[in-house]
């Protein structure tokens, strides 16, 4: 039996311990904000936080998530939109939006560790998150604006 916390709620799981966390949160818990994009940690659409750090849930198996605190996009705005989500809306980042949960989870993690990132630091942190619509210019802008807001 694997125990873990997802968005502050205790859960236990007695299925395949090799099941990636992605499919657990999506298919079992019904938290569909976290997306499936590639299945092998190449696109970042599945990014969630494990104990506060951005991870790729598509390659994080349930046994590796045991006893951890998982946070998904659904919980991010539980107490109102984050400054980053507000700037994301302000500069109108999303097009199709499918990758944006992962982009935002990754960017939150970046700002937590590096509150005032340079362009290079943004590129380094975000290069694992693909946006096929090509919203990168606005992603960079939204991250910078959020960094300014929390100056």
């Amino acid at each position: 039996m694997i125990k873990l916390k997802v968005n502050g709620i205790d859960h236990s799981f007695d299925g395949d311990p090799d099941m990636p966390l992605l499919w657990y949160v999506r298919d079992i818990l019904g938290l569909t904000g976290t997306k499936f994009g590639c299945g092998i940690a190449l696109c970042g659409a599945c990014t969630v936080h494990k104990n506060g750090e951005a991870i790729r849930s598509c390659i994080t198996v349930m046994s590796a998530a045991a006893n951890s605190e998982i946070r998904t996009i659904e919980d991010l705005s539980a107490n109102g939109l984050l400054a980053l989500q507000e700037t994301w809306m302000q500069v109108n980042v999303p097009q199709c939006g499918y990758c944006q949960s992962g982009q935002i989870m990754q960017a939150v993690s970046l700002l937590k560790n590096t509150p005032h990132p340079t362009d290079q630091q943004i590129d380094d942190a975000m290069a694992g998150n693909i946006c096929r619509c090509g919203t990168y210019q606005r992603i960079r802008q939204a991250i910078k604006l959020a960094a300014e807001k929390t100056a």
């Binding site: 659409a45 199709c96 960079r140």
Partner: protein, 753 residues
């Protein structure tokens, strides 16, 4: 043609808008759809999710419902088209609710493809809004016993101009519903100066949901009792299962059973590819079970397909006389000798790879199918599910979810047909989930193309004779196994319509047999056509030691409307009188981008180059300047892109800017790494490791988009940004390195790799 009718009293509306609501619909009566019954919203499934049947509805509480009948994949179309209705209605946007339409022929064309949603429906949407406003004014005038001519609208209300009496739309809805819908001649459309929203735009109605994980895509659709399916497709196009051993697969926890799917009967069109489906409790179990299948395949006739050999074949064909598509001037005479220059260009197969892989949920019950799908074309879903299952079209209900990207792939509903076929066999709802590997390997690829270019030039380097010949497996091959020549519609994408003013032009096309499914992908044939023409033109300019922009303007010649008399030129399906090909508009965007980018002062040097290209596609004129930097190690970066466009009237400028920003990123992927190859008929790429797309550190650092103020009818915006960028990027690379990019992508070009 569209006509507007009042359908307020028709029975099927009650459930949606309530009694007394004012509802208008636009009935589209194209010959294709004139037969058969419409699905009119009477089923339980229909009522379960928002899907009103009509474009406009106004409730007594003042809520305005506007139907979005086109699919949302990031272009903001499900905001922008209803916004046009709201403008003519003088509706308060905050009180508008958008309803996503199901697939239904009564909406007319729903294939959200070809950059044509606004172009096709702009007038219709304006008329819908204006007709509703007219009826509200009439109702108020009757109520106040004054002439309607003395009344007008303010935001969401009618006022009497002299007494200042005022009635909210909601108060008038019931009375207005008893009136006859006005004739088109009675409608008074707003003057552009009166527009509230058109030209100003709003953000997506889904914006907050997109930023909080609340948006529902096809991947997120769920219904009670559903199972998950993952399908092992024949590795070679046209192959089929020879033998199956599923014993190990069935041992995987959560796996229920396997189901065979019949191979398609050629042509493939939108039929399932066939193979073996693994049915399971969840997506992961289905994937795991699938890995344990032991299948031997009969690979069929395409197993000899080798993309290296195929490239040679295409290029050989491109060097032989082909079919004449268009001839100008002395094109019938022998090509001049002397100062002749020729070059070959090549673009490989390209895959769409939208972030959301193919996925669909379908439930078959009591002879009817209800599907939830991220589809660009819900009516095509109805058609293919109907034919696969042998049920009437109106018994296929297709709900359209948000799309996690489309780029043309999701106009082809083979994956929805799979879910429907499996659901019928299982008797319960099935969600088919493709892996990324499935997506890359079983796409409808953008055609691989070889272009042969030849010009004889005069003393100033200007062509006196021009020959261009393209060879590519046509999209029509997906629907007709015998098709080998480009069809007029795709040849017209930047090939037939070469806008140059030269004494002799010969435009040809050669035959090519397809060995995979060929389909349309963002910008389609314009990608390889513009690449060849705009890069070849740049080469000629450099050979003549002339500025590429000045040179191109010289070749385009004076402002004029191109004459396509006796030429098969479909013009993107648009009326040529309404959307003529005007060289003056192309010249204007070139001059605009020259000014905005400071082209005159841009001096290329080793390691730092500026490239330029211009192209009309989807009725929109675009000119693009790209700046590149190349390090000693050959690493290429793009500090800046400037792109100017004339798309006629622009409804939502912010959305248009976003589309053009995205187009250069899409183009960056094409140039840097876009390549699908095949060996023994099997596609060699599988995921983002071997089919990479551009990441944040590889794309232009800054893209500036300049929109021409225009009163011309609205044209396309989703696709036209890609083709000129691809060519301009390659021209910039030449300016920085002296090396010509004639074979895409850079990653497999021996000059750059």
């Amino acid at each position: 043609m569209n006509r507007i009718e009042n359908v307020s009293r028709r029975r099927f509306l009650k459930g949606v808008f309530g009694t007394g609501a004012l509802i208008l619909s636009v009935r589209y009566i194209p010959p294709l759809w004139a037969q058969g019954q419409s699905t009119d919203g009477q089923t339980d499934a229909d009522r379960a999710i928002l899907h009103p049947n009509l474009f406009v509805g106004i409730q007594q509480d003042g809520t305005v419902y506007i139907v979005a009948h086109r699919s949302e994949m990031g272009t903001v179309i499900r905001t922008s088209l209803p916004l046009v209705v709201a403008d003519e209605l003088d509706a308060d946007w905050k009180r508008v609710k958008i309803d996503q339409a199901i697939g239904d022929k009564r909406y007319g064309d729903q294939n959200t493809d070809g950059s044509q949603s606004v172009r096709r429906f702009y007038n219709t949407m304006r008329e819908c809004g204006a007709a509703a406003r007219w009826m509200l004014i009439q109702a108020a005038a009757q109520q106040w016993n004054v002439p309607a001519s003395e009344c007008s609208t303010v935001l969401h209300a009618v006022v009497h101009n002299t007494t200042r009496k005022r009635a909210e739309y909601g108060e008038l809805a019931s009375a207005a519903a008893r009136l006859t819908v006005p004739k088109k001649e009675q409608l008074q459309l707003k003057k552009p100066s009166e527009w509230r929203y058109i030209g100003k735009g709003v953000t997506s109605v889904d914006l907050q949901k997109l930023c909080t994980g609340q948006a529902v895509y096809g991947m997120d659709a769920r219904v009670d009792g559903m199972v998950y399916a993952s399908i092992e497709h024949p590795p070679v196009f046209g192959g089929k299962v020879k033998s199956l051993d599923d014993k190990e697969a069935l041992k995987v926890a959560g796996v229920h059973q396997t189901i065979g799917i019949d191979p398609f009967k050629p042509p493939a069109a939108f039929q399932p590819l066939g193979g073996v489906a693994v049915i399971a409790d969840n997506t992961w179990a289905a994937f795991q079970g699938r890995k344990k299948l032991k299948i031997t395949w009969d690979n069929g006739p395409n197993q000899s397909y080798d993309s290296v050999e195929y490239k040679k074949e295409l290029q050989e064909t491109a060097h032989k006389p082909g079919k004449l598509i268009r001839g100008v001037g002395d094109s019938g005479k022998a090509f001049p000798t002397g100062n002749v220059f020729e070059a070959d260009y090549y673009v490989p197969l390209l895959s769409h790879v939208p972030m959301e892989p193919m996925v669909a949920l379908a439930g078959f019950k009591d002879g009817k199918v209800t599907a939830w799908a991220p589809t660009q074309n819900p009516q095509a879903v109805q058609a293919i599910v109907s034919s696969e299952l042998g049920i009437p079209v109106q018994d296929v209900i297709c709900h359209v979810t948000l799309l996690g990207g489309g780029f043309g792939r999701k106009s082809k509903p083979d994956y929805v047909a799979e879910a429907a076929v499996l659901s019928k066999k299982l008797g319960r709802p099935v969600k088919v989930v493709w892996t990324r590997e499935d997506d890359v390997k079983f796409d409808y690829y953008n055609a691989v193309a070889a272009m042969y270019m030849k010009a004889a030039v005069d003393g100033k380097g200007k062509p006196t004779a021009w020959l261009q010949r393209s060879v590519f497996p046509p999209i029509t091959s997906t629907f007709d196994v015998n098709a080998v020549y480009g069809d007029p519609g795709h040849l017209a994408q930047g090939w037939t319509d070469l806008p140059y003013d030269l004494p002799s032009i010969r435009i040809e096309n050669g035959p090519a047999q397809a060995h995979v499914r060929i389909g349309w992908l963002r910008s389609v044939a314009n990608i390889y056509h513009a690449f060849a023409i705009q890069c070849f033109t740049d080469e000629l300019a450099h050979r003549a030691n002339r500025d590429p922009m000045e040179y191109l303007l010289d070749l385009i010649g004076p402002p004029r409307t191109l004459d396509f008399t006796n030429v098969d030129y479909p013009n993107y399906g648009a009326d040529y009188k309404t959307f003529p090909w005007e060289t003056g508009r192309l010249r204007n965007v070139i001059e605009m981008v020259a000014g905005k980018s400071g082209w005159a002062n841009k001096k290329s040097a080793k390691g730092h180059g500026f490239g330029f290209a211009a192209h009309r596609s989807f009725l929109t004129y675009v000119a693009t300047v790209v700046e590149v930097e190349v390090t000693e190690d050959g690493e290429i970066s793009i500090p800046r892109v400037d792109t100017a466009l004339d798309a006629g009237i622009v409804v939502n400028p912010e959305a248009v800017r976003a589309q053009f920003e995205g187009a250069v990123v899409f183009g960056t992927s094409i140039v840097r790494t876009g390549e699908i190859t095949a060996k023994n008929g099997v596609i060699q790429q599988s995921n983002f490791n071997d089919y990479p797309v551009a990441r944040i550190n590889e794309v232009p650092a800054q893209t500036n988009v300049y929109i021409t103020e225009s009163s011309a009818p609205p044209a396309g915006v989703g696709e036209p940004g890609v083709p000129p960028f691809v060519a301009a990027f390659c021209n910039a690379i030449f300016a920085a390195t002296g090396k010509r990019v004639r074979d895409l992508p850079l990653s497999s070009n021996s000059l750059f790799a």
